[in-house]
Amino acid sequence: MRNKTTEIQDKILTFIHESAEDTSKVAGGGHRFSNLALDVFSYQFQKNEPYRKLAMLKGKTPLTVRSWKDIPLMPIQAFKAVDLTTVGSPEPEDVFYSSGTTNPENKSKHYLSDLTVWNASMKVGFQKFVMGNRDKMTIFSLFPGEEENPNSSLSRYIDTAIDFFGTPGSQSFVQNGKIDYDGFVQALESAIQKEEEILIIGASFSYVHLLDWLKEQKKNWQLPKGSFLFDTGGFKGKSKEVGMEDLYAAMEESLGVKRNQILNMYGMTEISSQCYDDAIIKANAGEAPSYLKQTPDWVHVLVLDPETMKPLLDGEKGILAYYDLSNWESCVGILTEDMAIKTEAGFQLLGRAKGAEAKGCSIALDELLKVK
């Protein structure tokens, strides 16, 4: 059992590392991705009972599935309802819980018995889409680290970024659930003085708090050239409702960055990889960014028709399906609740689908949930 587990991780690690060296090495018309995705699926079919049962319900088993596109998709809601793990997790190295809800039963759980693949996926993606040719940057986080916020995949992500890519002054400025504005200002002003390139990492709502505070204090800065803001999350009923473009405009104004110095990352508790837009890649190349999300080589996405659940053509709006090789411990195929449009240049997220209201006089499920 151990062997199989090691073997599958080794295959994925090799894939990720070869991708880091040279994307064309693993591209190969997608065959390598597809074959490895099928291997991972077969492995999970054997070891992850709920996933096996889902696959059986769908009639999509290792015997019938022939391409990564046929691999059954685990609805993301399932991570709340059931433990999805191939290893069985009496003592996982880590469990990631989703944030947001207070009811633990409504939290997604993502078990990881071994973080090797997760780390490799994070680092290779971060290097390519965030760091570019840089080795180190000064990283200031407006989101708590792991110590402050255990079991958060984003906290672990940020700690890993700071440990691996941050200069010695890099740190998170969140303590006891609050942003330490004084500390942040001090560090920021010192970095500005030294003209260090800064990377500020935060969830969308952290920026809302920061911007509110800056407004109150009537402060604004001009970040040093080559600095970036890194944003993730968007808004899911958190803090006050702000549209992303409004937020970016406010960030430009208060922090003295151009729109193309703001990078957005798409990640989830339930998956082990991240997608980024092309802001930094294009900035480094001196080109205009599309802001479309880029997938690392070990991730493929499809956009599905909500009526038929069949893949849509590029440019059509539907539900995002996420295939992630680094998700070897749970499910390689995940059905998100995000609406998206895919093009050759990347994919664009269009937020969650809203609940439906009844057209007649019968009360619909979504409305009842709202009133209950």
């Binding site: 059986m56 009639g59 088993t61 015997l63 019938t64 022939r66």
Partner: protein, 255 residues
């Protein structure tokens, strides 16, 4: 493809008419479970052949006359494929179609009848009872039963065989009535003398010629002919067709 994402079980699917049907359904996109009784090598060979043509198949051994064996087979299908949409009840107790040596009515024993009934009605009962819970989960399912045109025109009176196949014909209709409400279509195929197959090798040239002479199409039926009709009956092309029996015999019998 006509049978994309469908899983089909063909009993007695490794040789003769069964093998042709297996190949045909696989070519149309179905994942085919080739059920066989004895010859594992042959069944595997067929699976390989199907795979070489770009299809998918799996050989599973089971004596369809044995209730437990059939239940095990259906369980295997569920575990490995999850679903089952199409059942072709093709297997039957080996029978030698030999007009020169057939048993006269007076010589037949109950054992002869019993063995044909076991291979037809009993096999059907076993497969349907084990398979129905799985079929009833689908939006629509297809069942095809192989009978024979000898039921209507017993040119050579193979009494025991005709009894077995007549039972299939009757069950075909009554099953269609009950299962229609579940979205399960049940139809039969009655081939004429199908040549070449192992069972028909004893039907010598003189008899074959005599049949050909009376047949409007002026030829015997091939396994491939039967497979084509089977494909029609298991696909959506035959939507809303149920309880029917299609004669694939060049027009020898006209229903």
């Amino acid at each position: 493809m006509l049978l994309e994402n469908k899983v089909a079980l063909v009993t007695g699917g490794s040789r003769g008419i069964g093998a042709s049907i297996s190949k045909k359904l696989a070519l149309a996109g179905a994942f085919v479970v080739v059920n066989y009784l004895k010859n594992e090598a042959r069944a595997n060979e067929l699976v390989e052949e199907i795979e070489a043509d770009g299809g998918r198949a799996l050989a599973i051994v089971a004596d369809v006359r044995d209730e437990v064996a059939v239940q095990t087979m259906i369980k295997q299908i569920e575990q490995q494929l999850g679903v089952l949409h199409i059942v072709v009840n093709n297997a039957f107790t080996p029978y030698e179609f030999n007009p020169k040596n057939r048993k006269m009515l007076a010589d037949l024993t109950w054992f002869d009848y019993q063995s044909q009934i076991d291979g037809s009605a009993r096999a059907l009962m076993n497969v349907m009872q084990a398979g129905l819970p799985v079929l009833k989960r689908n939006a629509s399912s297809k069942v095809v039963n192989l009978t024979s045109d000898l039921v209507n025109i017993p040119a050579t009176p193979y009494h025991d065989y005709v009894v077995g196949k007549s039972a299939v014909m009757g069950l075909n209709r009554s099953m269609a009535v009950e299962l229609g409400a579940f979205g399960i279509a049940v139809n039969a195929i009655a081939p004429g003398l199908t040549y070449p197959t192992e069972s028909s090798q004893f039907t010598k040239r003189d008899v074959r010629d005599a049949i050909i002479e009376k047949t409007p199409s002026q030829r015997l039926t091939t396994p491939e002919d039967v497979a084509g009709t089977a494909l029609y009956l298991v696909s959506d092309l035959s939507a809303n067709v149920t309880g029917q029996c299609l004669f694939v015999d060049g027009g020898l019998h006209m229903g």
